[in-house]
Amino acid sequence: MTKGKSAALPIAYVVLRILIVLNWFYGAAILALVAFTFVNEPWFMRAIDIPTGTDPRPIMMGLRAIAALGILAVPLNHLILTRLLRIVETVGRGDPFVVVNAYRLNAIAWALLVLQLLSMLIGAIGKSIASKEFPLHLDAGFSVNGWLAVILTFVLARVFAEGTLMREDLEGTV
């Protein structure tokens, strides 16, 4: 890989900035949806096609809980995206091996871990309210790849911390 020729960095920078904005829109949209379920519950139940003869209360409660957990993910996503943006900025400045990036990666790892737990919780709620009459397919639940990403990020954070210490030692060597 040659330095200065890769387009990955500017692309990552722009994409991350867009994702930061989209994340807040996503949060606002879910919030609006939850608010709407309280404002006009019958319309919402018709819209999601709750079959007649089924008790809508557990389904509505479950969906609201899923939405609330979805809103909780917004600040976590923001934390991940902004930390990643700061890391990309340090790469752009040509000095990514700084101790603050190790802390940033560690924070990202913790946020990813909480997101995985939220995803499992959402998956469980989805399963509990789904039935033959009301099938609900959510892209949530236990994910091997998700947990691998958590472990990988924790390991990377540690590698960064060690690498920074090694660099400091090397810089102090005469």
Binding site: D169, E171, T173
Partner: protein, 68 residues
């Protein structure tokens, strides 16, 4: 720091400046200054060898351990 670098003393005894030593052992003056002021974290064997060679001393003459 418990390890004291006695480069100043050695240079004074040999009537040599830090700049002259830096030129002779091919190390930047800035790095040699770091070593002289005791701010270095480590010293390479190659640097130690070059200093001892130019100043005609032993590593023990350059470094001293002061415990406590």
């Amino acid at each position: 720091m418990a390890i004291v670098v006695k480069l100043d003393e050695l240079l004074h005894n040999r009537r040599m400046t830090l700049t002259e030593l830096a030129e002779k052992i091919d190390i930047t003056l800035a790095n040699l200054s770091i070593l002289k002021t005791g701010k270095a974290r480590a010293i390479r064997f190659s640097t130690l060898e070059a200093i001892c060679d130019v100043l005609g001393c032993q590593p023990g003459d350059l470094l001293e351990y002061r415990g406590g």
